[in-house]
Symmetry: C2
Amino acid sequence: MVKKPVRSFSEHEILALLHKKYAKTGTGIKKGIGDDAAVIQPGSSGEYWLITTDMLVEGVDFLREWTTPRQIGHKSISVNLSDIAAMGALPRFFTVSLGLPPGISRHWITEFYRGLNHQGSKYGAVLIGGDLSSSSESILISITAVGESVGRKVLYRSGAREGDALYVTGTLGKSAAGLKLLLSGHARTRTPLKREAVRCHREPEPRCQAGLWLAQSGLVRCMMDLSDGLSTDLPRLCKESGTAAEIDSCRLPVFAEAAGWDMNPLYLALHGGEDFELLFAVPESKSSVLRKNYPDDLPPITRIGKMVRGKGEVWIRSGKKNRHRLKNLGYDHFSQKPF
Amino acid sequence: MVKKPVRSFSEHEILALLHKKYAKTGTGIKKGIGDDAAVIQPGSSGEYWLITTDMLVEGVDFLREWTTPRQIGHKSISVNLSDIAAMGALPRFFTVSLGLPPGISRHWITEFYRGLNHQGSKYGAVLIGGDLSSSSESILISITAVGESVGRKVLYRSGAREGDALYVTGTLGKSAAGLKLLLSGHARTRTPLKREAVRCHREPEPRCQAGLWLAQSGLVRCMMDLSDGLSTDLPRLCKESGTAAEIDSCRLPVFAEAAGWDMNPLYLALHGGEDFELLFAVPESKSSVLRKNYPDDLPPITRIGKMVRGKGEVWIRSGKKNRHRLKNLGYDHFSQKPF
C-alpha cells in the first residue's frame, strides 16, 4: 500500500491555478470555485442551491482491508454532506459514480449502496443518479451532493474580520488518532475509546444540524469544514477573508486520550485531517450571545482563537508565551503518503 | 493495456438493482435513477434542473498515448453535455473531480482544464467546482453537469407508444470506426475521412441544439443519447416505455466509408458505442411535420424504424425480409475489454 512518490507541484498550487483562471461569478452563480461548495441560484428560485463533489480512491482515501463496504458508503457520502454543512445548508440529493476493479462481489456493491443510502437519508439526501465504470485495480468513488439554503442564508469562507472570535465544533484530532490506530494494526480493538477514535475515522458524521443552526443564527460571519487539518484549512479561511488568525494551543479541544497511546494530541489536533468539524468566525460583540444561545443538543463549540491583521498567516501561542507561525502540515494529496 | 477479466455480473444487472431499490420520486424529484439525467425541481423554481454524472478512467475510456490532454478534457465534458442534450435541456454548470497518478505534468493539467472549459463554454456550461485526488496509476475523471429546462419541457426515455416512428440524429458507427483505426495504429492519419472518424471518437460533439429544438417542438414523445451503442441503448428506451422496437437496417445512417477500411458499417452502427447521437420517438401522425419543420442547420435526422408491441425487445429487418431479434452487443463496462 505504499504510494508512489511526490510530484513536482502541490494540490494547493493546482487549486490556486484553477481559482485564478476559472473562479467565475455570472448569471446564476453566487460562488464558483474556491469554497466548500459552489452556490447557484436557479432562475426564479427563492433559495440558493449548493453543489459539491468529492472523489475517494482506494489506497489513498480508504483501504478495503480495514473497512466494510457499508462503512465506505457511509464515509463517502459524509465527506460531501460535510461540505453542505459547512455552508449552513440542507442536503437534498446526491449522485455517485463508481469505478470497480475485477473481483468485486455483488455483496460488496449492495452493502456499499446500503451504507451510502442509509447515511444520506439520515440527513435528508436522496440518491438520484450516477454512473458505473470499470477500473484496473482500485475502487473509485465520486459523489456529488446538492444542498438547498434556507432563506438564502449561506456562509462562505470569506467574511471574517480582524478581531472576530474563532470557533470549532467537536474534538480535533480524533479521526487522525483512529487512523494511527488502524495503521498500527488496531482494526479490531476492544477499548471503547479506541473504538470511538477508529469509528470517527471510518464513519465520520457531518455537522449538518450545527451548520444549519449557525447559518440561521445570523451571528456567524464565515465558516468551512475541517477536512485536511486545521493547519491546512485555517490558512484557506484566512486567505479568503483577507485576514490572519491566532490560535491558542491551550484552548484547542484536543483528543486528550491519544496521549496514553503514545501520540501527541496537540499535533493531531493541528495537523490531523478528516475531523469534519466546523470552523467559523463570529464578531467579538456577538460571541457571548452565541455561547448563550447555542443549543445543548448540538456538538459542543469551543473558542480557539481570533482573527488578526495579516494575509493568510496562522499564529499559534500557548497561554501567554510568544506566538510563532504555524507550519502547514495538514494533508496534501500530492505530497504525502496516506498509508 | 489489456484489461483484467470479466466479472460475474454485468453493468446492466447492477443498474437494475439500483433502479429497483433506489429509483425514487419524492419532494423535489421529478425523475431519479434510470434516465440520462436526474430531474429535480427546486422549491419555488419555474424550471426543472437536471443533474448527470460520468466517470472516465484511463485505460478504460481513453488512452493517454492516443489523446492530448485537451482532447480528454473535451471528451469528458461532452459525454456529460450529451446527457443534458438527451433530455432537451440547456447545460449550465459543471464540476470536475480529477484523480492524478504520479508523473503528470503541469502542462497536462492546464491543457486538460483548457479543453474542458473551452468545450463547456461553447454549450453554456461553466466550471463551478471540483476535487483533486491522487491515484496510483490511472488518470481518473468524474464530471457532474447541471442543466436547466426551458419551460419545464423535458424528454424522458419513457413515453414512446406502439406505432411511433423512431429517429436518430447524425451518423451511427463513426466513433467506433475511429476507435478501430486508433487500435490498428492510425493515430496520425492523413486521409480526411479517417481523420474525421478519429476526431469523432476523440472529440465527440453533444447534440445540444438538436435536443433543445426537439424538446421545444412538442412533437417528440421520448429521447435518449446513444452512448453504449444502438443495440444496448434502444432496449433501454423500449423498457422504460413498455414497448418493443423494430428497426430497418437499410434505413440506418451508417458510416458507409468504413467498408473501404475492412470494417462492417452496419455492425458498427448497431453495436458501436460513443456516437452521442440522439435517439427519439415521434407519433406517426407528427412525423411529417417534424421532417418539414426540423431546421436545416442542425445535424440531420433519419427515421430508422418504429415502436411495436412488446417488452423491450428490438427486432431488425432488412427491407422486406423476415425480421430477427437484435442481439445486445453494445458496450458493457464489466464484460468487455475496450483496449
